[in-house]
Assembly symmetry: C2
Homo-oligomer: 431 residues x 2
């Protein structure tokens, strides 16, 4: 089902490089298409947005119909299974509690006539892209919107395509639970453009977050700077490290869960024992047979799945750090003993009673995680992503007199005389 | 010297939009050139870097000569003015002290058999771009490198062009003080490419920071995702708000100091009094006459300078928030009284004894600040920019049994059966 490689082969780098997706400087064909749509939206506003929505989503709207009215959310609750609503609320409460811990205040330093401060403010307007149709995952709405709400963002806007007019009712409920302030039934590059430039109907935002296809990702990348964006995310990844005593049923279940995401999902399994690998393979075959998304999982395992047999856990951890996976699960006897050695991973799952889906849905930490090796420098989405800082400086006359000479010397070395003058003029006047 | 507009004119938006630089989706001609160089470096490594260095910097190097050896730093100290070295050390100590306050630990939450954590690790390898020749400002090296060192980054690499072989000795000294681990005498797009892809000689880094011309900025933008970058920075900006009692000599000095940066520097002056404006204009003319960078300052004031006469300070603050300037100086009687009203600004300077150059050099907060209105969503460079976080999740069997139903319900609604199975398989086995 997955290619198996012994690490002694020393081919492991070549193999994992093949199964992984690494980001590069952008697909130029896609960029050309995306630029054209963005330019149109910037110049023609609503008109361009509506034209592309009719073309791509087969949906003819007037400007007034873009915004989803509150009635639709009410109807979504009426149609919904109350048990699911309860579970979404449970997840939202846990996500909120974890993200509350991330909140940070500014600080002030005051001495010798010098006042310095760092201030923290929420970003004012945030746009959240939610993919359309079945992929309008309510969990994704919670994970993107709740950190923004915890940060104190006052205006939180969803754009989501509704191909042929269909909106996922649980997406609407999740948006309501998460405190989203408005929803527009538009998607694609035109929706990203509308959020970045603003139109007659859609507000210009300061930051755009949320998953999307490669066109949406390219659009976010192109408007970066004009607005802030979250990270550039690729297909999902799971790396499992298992020792000899791992439960093959659980390991198989977790590997398959990752593989069912989509055909590009990456699954890497590092095991210290050949016999475990064989048992896991058998279990996977059995479980796969009963999966509705069998075809997707099979394709992803074939193209983006690989098993490595490693000599020991130490080497497995070293390989994992090199790969820097989005999700890392440890099916080992003493998982906490290995935590300090793990430096590059988006989210780490410890022990066999911690299926990775806990992180997708209900544990509390964010499921928006760095992929493609970017866990080396990117972080899970968090409250910090929805605030911005500013500095404050205030000097007394005495403080400026005492330290001004240092400023003057550095400014002179840099050839910036007017900078030096700022002090000279004040200190002489004061003398 | 600067155009003056009364806010009653209601033209103020049109006017400030003209003087400000706003970012957009990139200059396409520049991008084409930049992509070509990046592709060359990715494919040919050192060979391409050396070829472009010979072409643009008129400097023929062997791979071994790219790295600046420790001897050169020793010679830089020998040639340097000890007073300037002392002042750079003073600045470094203050910058370090302020940034130490930004350091954050992770956290752990533990209850009901559930363990959650947020861990923080420094980014392993950071590249710092330092512009060449006279613009190799030692203050910029301190401001970019010190937060990385405070964060604990173990490998901190400078690339800096040395046109015709010249390196600024104070840049070398600042790098030494700031704890930079290695320096390469290459610059331009080829240096950004070398850091992003790695070559035989230059290490691939995880993040690239530092200022550069528009080619360097375009290159950073294009490699974003493959590595992290700092922000996309445009020309510097200063907005001064002054009440009737402000000292015109000081105001004039600060406006000129901003204008001398470069021809694109933006200077906006909001005053409540016409007579102050007249006095400031007279002072500026007198001070300008003695400035070595008179020509640069005059050009920037003509194209990117504007004075607004506003009815009161409240309106001035509102306009400033709309502009979201990089630097904001308050020359008013009770500056602290206005601080809460200021929400969008990179760095705020309070009172007439706080010249803006304190923030450039010695106060302690970072001088790498958001420009072009991006203070709405970007922040001053800080220690957080050089760390990355990861999450940890661990559940006990009982905790999974108790909460697993919520996971199953959400997974089912999202059509991800294998996700639901992860819980079903465990909870049934446990029962």
């Amino acid at each position: 089902m997955m290619k198996t490689v012994h690490v002694e082969d020393r081919r492991f780098k070549a193999v994992y490089r093949k199964v992984l997706h690494r980001l590069d400087v952008g697909d130029r064909t896609i960029e050309k298409t995306v630029r054209k749509i963005l330019d149109d939206v910037r110049e023609k506003g609503d008109k361009a947005v509506l034209r592309y929505t009719e073309k791509f989503d087969r949906l003819k709207l007037t400007p007034d119909q873009m915004r989803v009215d509150a009635d639709q959310t009410r109807r979504a609750y009426e149609k919904a299974d109350p048990a699911v609503v309860e579970s979404l609320q449970y997840a939202a409460d846990r996500i909120t509690a974890f993200h509350e811990k991330q909140k940070k205040e500014g600080f002030t330093v005051q001495n010798d006539g010098i006042y310095l401060a760092q201030r923290v403010h929420p970003i004012e307007r945030v746009g959240l892209y939610v993919p359309g149709g079945k992929a309008a995952y309510p969990s994704s709405v919670l994970m993107n919107a709740i950190p923004a709400r915890v940060a104190g963002v006052p205006r939180l806007v969803i754009v989501s395509p509704s191909p042929d007019g269909v909106l996922n009712p649980y997406m609407l409920i999740a948006a309501d639970i998460a405190g989203v302030t408005e929803i527009y039934r538009i998607g694609g590059v035109q929706a990203v453009g509308a959020l970045a430039y603003g139109t007659e109907t859609i507000p210009k935002v300061d930051k755009i977050v949320g998953p999307g296809n490669q066109y949406v990702a390219a659009a976010k990348r192109l408007v970066y700077g004009l607005v802030d964006i979250d990270m550039i995310a690729g297909p999902s990844e799971l790396l499992i490290i298992a020792d000899d005593r791992a439960n093959p049923t659980y390991v198989a279940s977790d590997l398959l869960s990752q593989a069912e995401h989509d055909e590009e999902a990456v699954v890497i399994f590092l095991a210290t024992s050949k016999s475990l690998v064989e048992k896991v393979e058998r279990e996977m075959k059995a479980q796969l047979a009963r999966l509705p998304r069998k075809k997707i999982a099979t394709t992803s395992l074939r193209h983006h799945g690989v098993t490595f047999i490693v000599p020991d856990l130490k080497q497995a951890i070293a390989m994992s750090n090199e790969i820097a996976p989005e999700h890392l699960s440890l099916f080992v006897a003493e998982p906490f003993a290995y935590l300090d050695g793990i430096v590059h991973a988006g989210s780490v799952f410890l022990g066999e009673q911690t299926p990775q889906a806990l992180g997708d849905y209900i544990a509390g930490p964010n499921h928006v995680l760095p992929t493609g090796g970017t866990a080396r420098f990117f972080s899970p989405l968090c409250v910090d992503d929805f605030v911005k800082r500013s500095s404050v400086i205030s000097y007394s006359r005495e403080a400026l007199e005492k330290s001004g000479q240092h400023l003057v010397r550095i400014a002179e070395v840099e050839g910036l005389e007017a900078h030096a003058n700022m002090v000279r003029i004040r200190v002489n006047n004061n003398a």
